[in-house]
Amino acid sequence: MKNKVEELRKEKNLSQEEFSNYMKVSRQTIISIEKERYNPSLDLAFRIADFFQRRIEDIFIRGGER
């Protein structure tokens, strides 16, 4: 699943460490999500969407292109 987490995080000038602290997950999890190696749980996906004040489907794109 593709996502725009890295893009949105950089827009807010946050480091991966800072973002992971906000999300209460480890930095490795954020790295894996941004590299699209790991799909977050529904709960984490909702929290990420709430943090960036976007809809989940605007951040996480199933299959296909960005």
Partner: protein
Amino acid sequence: MSVKGKKRVFVILAIMLYCIGLLLLLSRQINRIAELEISNTAITWMGIVGIICTLLTMVCVIRLLTIMVQTNVELNISEQDERNMMIRGKAAEYTLTILSILMLMLEGVLIVMGQSVAAFLIAITFMLGIIAQMFLIRHFDKMN
């Protein structure tokens, strides 16, 4: 009691219980080397108390680790992190398979060596492990 005090207590307790447990578990060997002429019954009881001390050591260590995780924010996040939980779960699954294979191999070696009692005990332990796994699968299935 402060968190630091609690940690100190559990560390000291764990070390003491481990040393006592080890000493008691080695009582048969110590008896033979030092020629203390301790009765077999006494040695058996010392062994049982030694096992209890070892189990209590494990309880102290687990309690200590729990306190450390609860009080350290980074450790707490790492412990609760969903990706880490998934990784630990997968690793545990593979470890169970590897351990099962190793236990079966050990049992084969013990049977060949004529240690039937030991082989039987391993078989019982193995079966108890499988029964525990079945119960846990059913339990988590019902929970979710």
